[in-house]
Amino acid sequence: MAGGGNPVTPIWDRLLHVCFHGDYEENACFHGDYEEEKEEEEEEEEERGTLDLSPLLNKAMMLQARSWLSRARSFSTVSNNPLRVCVVGSGPAGFYTAEKTLKAHQGAEVDIIDRLPTPFGLVRSGVAPDHPETKIVINQFSRVAQHERCSFFGNVTLGSSISLSDLRELYHVVVLAYGSESDRALGIPGEDLMGIHSAREFVWWYNGHPDCRNLDPDLKSTDTAVILGQGNVALDVARILLRPTSELATTDISSHVLTALEESSIRKVYLVGRRGPVQAACTTKELREVLGIKNLYVHIKEADLVKTPADEEEMKNNRIQRRVHELLSKAAASGSSQPNSGQRELHFVFFRKPDSFLESDERSGHVSGVHVEKTFLKGVGPGKQIAVGTGEFEDLDCGMVLKSIGYKSVPVNGLPFDHNKGVVPNIRGRVVTDPLGDPTQVEIGLYVCGWLKRGPTGIIATNLYCAEETVASISEDLERGVLKSRSSLPKPGREGLLQLLNDRNVRPLTFNAWEKIDSEEKSLGSLRNKPREKLTTWEDLLKAAAMK
């Protein structure tokens, strides 16, 4: 997604245009009143007592269905029989899926599980602390969680607390929206040296994610950091390192992080891109913001800004690329040629790709720089250019490196996974059984949404359209009878989940528990003139959740 995505043909569009020549061809538009229409048909079915397994159900599915049935019967309260939906992951994709499902299916009961005691995914643990307006969407998500047919269960991890096959037995529909919680690797020598972190970890650290509470990056032994990648995450991270800490003090940034930043000796940040300014992956809003940091010297080589005909071609249909290039050009022209003393510095470095990391002579095992290769761009199709090494190298000295080259999703047991793309193979949200085999063979009742479905790009709003697509697929499948027999095939849903978790000594935390954490954080924050002071250890989170 060059330039953060072309708004006219976003990555999303490509998904929309996937043409599916299988059983789902009819593209029914669903307006939410299908439940009633279907009612009669289902009643009839119930009377007959038959289970109309659609032709799509193969033998394995039949067996599975039988086991569902026998288990389902062992649960007591399945007398009323709503559509039971489980959404895994409470980020934007999960919440938008829940919201759309509740709206489209008046009878549906939706449970959202998350491995953390806190909901909202990257809105809490990714979005920068100095972007409070972006987090306002939490209001909308909270209303969804408080809906009478919706429940949130934190502290429940797919893969350890509960398996995918457990969930598929308990629910008619399982939607996986657990995001991308790992990192793309460069695969170059020295990547494990101390002082090198992924941007994901660094972001989790400054946003108080309990998994990175103790990351403790060393900001005191060096004055220079290199950030690899030029996407919005790279810009976020650069801004946190360079922005006056007095401006961060009134945000919800974790206090231990604020202290570390106040004591930081980092003055100079290199933002390194393997391609040129036309291909920079950031968006205008984030760029404008980083360029506007108080008392910051910005360096951009004017020579890098020269556009080739291929660049012009690429920009022609991409508004973001045009506007980003324009902003960079303005910054290059207006900046002073030398930094004033004491000024912090931001250097945009284009056309350099990392080749290896250098180890420090004085501090063994520690990074002391990045060996980069100069690149030029080569056209590989209309509007697409890639970076190719020229064979010339140089070193960028630094004491810290943050790799911001993209996130990566991780599979769970029993889930089809495309390891190349790092996503769950899917057709408009329906999970495809074998990424290499028949693309029309899908997993019944299993869907995917968000970064796990599309890969780790896109803003919060992208997940809204993504959820619309996935929920439309669910609705189509219900209407077509692929997921049919709700009445003849009751599922234990929430009650079954809670029973199973109880059997396994897993203590799910409800939205009410989150509200206790929330109010504790807010009151801690008010003491420090901050919107909230996040609880950043598991212990503190669980303690607050258990408060009366």
Binding site: G4, G5, P7, V8, T9, P10, W12, L16, C29, H31, E99, L102, K103, Q106, H131, E133, T134, I136, V137, N139, Q140, R143, V144, Q146, H147, E148, R149, T283, T284, K285, R288, N317, R319, I320, R323, I459, I460, A461, T462, L464, Y465, E468, E469, A472
Partner: protein, 182 residues
């Protein structure tokens, strides 16, 4: 607390962001379209179940409102009256029109994207600020006459404006409207 997700209620019980107590929608309006009657009815229902103490001066509001038509995701027209000074986002939510507004009008999300369907009206709007353009960059299905609903504020010259809410499933060609890429 009312727990109901059905259209409108869901948004209107929010209690956050939108200053909905401030602007009172009209109760009696000419019945021009079916969709409109529906929304008037909903408003009535809303009115009768909540905020019973509020008063509203219909006579003066009538003069201070303009007509705005929203073309929703399904291609249906919804005509509403919008008080001068109110943003189209607030107006949509007042009238149970499904226009997203993730950041509640703080220019940080682009989900309130609407397409002004007539260039004449588009030209009557003030030029978007850099900040609005930065968010428009990210709007889904951007066109030459795209704006953010939270940034369009009702003024007399805009009386009669038609705006479409883009959606993944929406087919603009149906209305003879073809979105042009930038």
């Amino acid at each position: 607390m009312l727990k109901e997700l059905s259209k409108g209620r869901y948004l209107s019980t929010s209690g956050t962001g939108y200053k909905r107590q401030h602007w009172r929608p009209l109760l009696t309006l000419p019945s021009e379209t079916k969709a409109f009657q529906g929304s008037a009815f909903q408003k009535y229902r809303h009115f009768s179940t909540a905020d019973a103490g509020d008063t509203c001066d219909e006579g003066s509001e009538r003069n201070d409102t303009i007509s705005v038509t929203f073309v929703d995701k399904y291609g249906e027209d919804q005509l509403i009256q919008v008080p001068i000074g109110m943003s189209l986002l607030e107006a949509a939510h007042e009238n149970d029109i499904e226009l997203e507004g993730a950041c509640e009008g703080s220019l940080a999300c682009s989900t309130c994207h609407v397409i002004v369907m007539d260039m004449d009206y588009y030209n009557k709007l003030e030029d978007p600020t850099d900040e609005e353009n930065d968010m428009l960059d990210l709007a889904f299905g951007l066109t030459e006459s795209s704006r953010l609903g939270c940034q369009i504020v009702a003024k007399p010259e805009l009386d009669g404006i038609r705006v479409a809410i883009p959606a993944a499933t929406r087919n603009f060609a149906v209305d003879g409207f073809v979105p042009k890429p930038h």
